[in-house]
Symmetry: D2
Subunit: 348 residues, 4 copies
């Protein structure tokens, strides 16, 4: 069974409870462009995007992830997606063009991990605001970068995504072989999807890319200025994994949004996978700053294709937060291995 | 005769012919804050300023400099300014508080160089928007930095300003002793006033400071986006003199505005003066990029205290543009002097 | 005839006349990492690269381009390249692994445009210095970005590269249909190869990417500090085409090196092509700063596979420098078309 | 009794136990320039400084502060310092030129707060490396900015420093009038000395200034790369007080070093004092990131003029760490006061 040829993560649809509060966060703070709006939804894109939207905010009673959407390489690949998922035996729906405003004919599925996922090719083109610097604020965002989802069994989820043609750029393991997280990509960045071990299916976050770090720092300054600094959950910092400069915010409904820059090119077929030790204190933050507990514990529920909140299955393997937080000395900054006192995976 | 104790350059008043065109340039592009406005004037300040304004734009028929204003250390120093200039025999006027909106009692003079200058202490305090990052655009400006005036005789002008207690941080000379420009300060930056040799009195430019270079680069991007890139006259670049990162813009009336960052502390009494050779190709641009002819040739006329355009006196000494532009090989990038092949003044 | 599946531009080999002078430029100034060196060659890579090199400097008597190398997706694609070019009837050579140090078995050709080009898959992996911030200077470079070549007939060259599977991201035309330059890509950036109209075949430049603009600005400051600012040929600036922030340097032999950041994602199959009018004064520099004549006129000769300097054929169509430089008013900053007074190609 | 005319904080002398470990930290990581070295001491300066040093590291058995030094305006002010402190009845010593290498005749005292302090005017001038960009790394530091000392009684210490002519730019208080910290200046920045309430006399930190935030971020990246991220104690972040972007490092002996940029001009006589509520969660970090306990608790001991470690007196008033850390809900991000929900002192 041939999987559809996925280009990249393309858009997410989030259910929010207060569209005006969300509008402030996504358009005033983050500066996303409103391509269109309905009575109950906002369709947003970043400055370098020419498809109709990379984020839909839809008003609803419970904050949740309604849909992750991947773009495939052609209309035929939408058909292939339908066949592929019917072959997998999961729930599959074909929806006509316009079911989501701006998006063409699509296939929606509940994937084997429990997530509502859409595959599409056709979408309305709109003006790319790459050079509309008159509209770019100090925190200008360029494009959607990736999704991050919480799954109980990371190797199983990785196996599923490998079936879809994704490859692993980096992961976090322990020496017993437990995998805590994996980063997987189709486009030539570090990831389109990250798999984070935990109770799932849940959405951990969606991430947008900027060009420079100053744009991320401004978002913090801006939140301070309007006295919403408590929406800064973690960072800014430099990731060990991916080397990206990052910031995690929580939107008015608690959905986690990452702003992200500086990762690296992964487009060659032999791109080395970097494996990090879960006890390496610089894996999540290169500067060793601690990960706040909420970042490990909290995530957004996901909906079925019928819009029902999906039940969550507990992770049974060790949790990263348990093995790395506390007074038990599990984390290290330096080891005795090697000249520089540490290793960073099997790179070569 | 004791001169008044000048703290710093404080504000300029420019005559502009189209207040709405100027409003776009100064508030939409540069992002200056409107403290107040009248039918015929805008009172503007930068984000870290708490006095009423650092720039006044007043509608008039001829673009010109109406006034340069220095702040003195106390109300008594305003009296001292009056006495000092009466002693110098120049025209002096005492004006009551509010003559310029937001400014207290002041003394206005026509200085010996022909410029309309004001000395004041009292001014209305307004909110300092240092941390109003919700209002800061990508090109946010912090404060007024300096004035730059064109005078025919730089040593004479330097002598006058030394009498006022200013000191020279850097200058440009040739080996025959001709002085082409001098930078002088009261506050502990490279300058409050620069003296540029040429036909004068004219205003060469006023300069505002940002925190970082990215803010200056954004102004260029913004002008490109609105198809007004022809308002970029020179730069961005790195000055040799002052080491500042710079950009020169022309406002809708042709007034030249510099945006400036990265100069250095000069507050110690033995701050070394740096003398640059006029034939050193990196003195005006550390990267050796050429100075455009308009930058040397053009400047704003200045008004008398009666609002008449003042006549200009020609420079009789060599002009910097003549000795450094052309195919005559006057400029050098490297010399044979010293280990690193060049000297940068008498620093130690 | 199926072309080989090219991943991206991968390395260039330049002939330089003074290896020590070049070493300073490429390793001290640009900070490239020396993977290996022979008596007559340096093998260099940027900080995020894990293949053996992205630049070879080989000592020789005449500065020239010895080879442009593309990486293909697998060893089988090297065979496919051989067959493809034999089918095209150009000169083809199969070379064993190690013919270029660090590179596996390869096919070398003289392409239909007259350039010496190599296709390879296998290469020695070395440590990726992405996070070796202890080695990153203030001007740290991440990776090779693209090649830019001078060809007399841009549409013919574009046709050839389309045959190889490249797509056009942007180009410069006039209203009569003359094409002055085209940007073409395989990896999801604006280009792997740019085609610049002029006397060719010649190498216009090779370009390396940084993460941020500050790294590019530092290179200028550094050149100023060592009094080699005359090696700055053009920039820094913001390109209209590609939106990249750029700087053009000349190495000690006159080879042109661009340092480049901030371009955009092109990986979707319907990525819009942007067509710029050759008379648009912001096409080459978004800020309207002029292109220096040498940038249009000068380029490096290229070698045959035997190491002979190849003859150059004159461009017969109009030259960009002729139609856009001079007092004839050909360039525009604003037009009367459209609401914002200008158009930027057919984006949607 | 007239106090000496202090220009600014000028240098600190720290006792370190391992000169080679310190050399790495201060010269390899921070990039300070070695002006001179003895068998037992390093004399360091930042890139824009022309006096002999702004930091002395002297080998000794116990990490401690040996001396804080202020520069006064003239040699006569050194005499005035001697008279002033004799009048205050504290221990005073006159030391000849060269007692500290590079420093002229000086007066050393044990100030009323218990700190070893020197006043000097004369000092050896050395080359200012402002434009030696060939030597500037990615984390280049411009100059010493301020000292921060721990004192049990902040109002008493403030009173002492007001006697010396310092003014308060900002402070932290509670509504009962307890003062937790105060920032005081002579030069026109936010501070030359900060007074932090706690057991003292101890040295909280010394701070150096950079031009931009990227230079501070690089220091974190660099420490990560050499696996010394545990030397990052707090930050990077944006201060509420001072608005500066900051980072706190601990040197190999535990001395705390701040790297700091983006504060504001305070040189006008009516510079508004900003008072922060100790319960304002953004006062110490504008982004609301928590202050780590060690930052409140730990500081360097100080020596007497005889080199003995001075006893510490306990703070008897409430401690900032007690009233703001914990589950008691003392801190706020938003209040109900005013339109934007908060106040930032009495600024106007």
């Amino acid at each position: 069974m041939t999987p559809p040829d996925v280009i990249r993560c393309a858009y997410a649809e989030l259910v929010v409870t207060d569209l005006e509060a969300s509008r402030w966060f996504y358009t005033e703070l983050l500066g996303l462009v409103v391509t269109a709006e309905d009575e109950d939804a906002l369709y947003l894109r970043a400055f370098e995007e020419y498809l109709h939207h990379s984020l839909v905010l839809r008003k609803g009673s419970t904050p949740a992830l309604a849909r992750l959407a991947y773009r495939v390489r052609s209309p035929e690949e939408v058909d292939r997606a339908e066949a592929y998922y019917r072959g997998l035996g999961v729930r599959v729906e074909r929806v006509p063009a316009g079911t989501t405003r701006g998006i063409g004919e699509a296939v929606r599925i509940e994937d084997p991990l429990g997530f509502p996922v859409e595959f599409f090719y056709d979408a309305t083109h709109v003006e790319r605001f790459t050079q509309r610097y008159d509209l770019h604020g100090a925190g200008a965002i360029s494009r959607l970068d990736h999704f991050n989802v919480v799954v109980p069994d990371v190797p199983a989820a990785q196996h599923y995504y490998e079936g879809l043609g994704f490859k692993v750029s980096e992961d976090i393991e322990d020496t017993d072989g437990t995998v805590y997280a994996a980063w997987m990509y189709r486009k030539s960045t570090v990831h389109d999807i990250a798999l984070t071990g935990g109770d799932g299916p849940r959405l951990h976050h969606i991430a947008f890319a900027t060009h420079e770090r100053s744009q991320i720092l401004h978002l913090c300054d801006h939140l301070g200025a309007v006295r919403r600094s408590d929406q800064i959950e973690r960072g800014p910092g430099r990731h060990g994994v991916s080397n990206a400069f990052y910031l995690y915010l929580r939107d008015p409904d608690g959905h986690r949004i990452e702003i992200y820059t500086h990762d690296y090119y992964t487009g060659d077929p032999d791109n080395p996978t970097i494996t990090w030790d879960v006890h390496d204190n610089q894996r999540r933050d290169w500067w060793g700053n601690p990960v706040v507990p909420s970042w490990y514990a909290e995530a957004s529920p996901v909906l079925t294709l019928d819009g029902e909140v999906r039940d969550v299955r507990e992770r049974t393997e060790a949790r990263e937060s348990d093995v790395t937080i506390g007074a038990d000395g599990f984390s290290y900054t330096r080891t005795d291995e090697g000249e520089r006192g540490f290793k960073v995976g099997h790179q070569v």
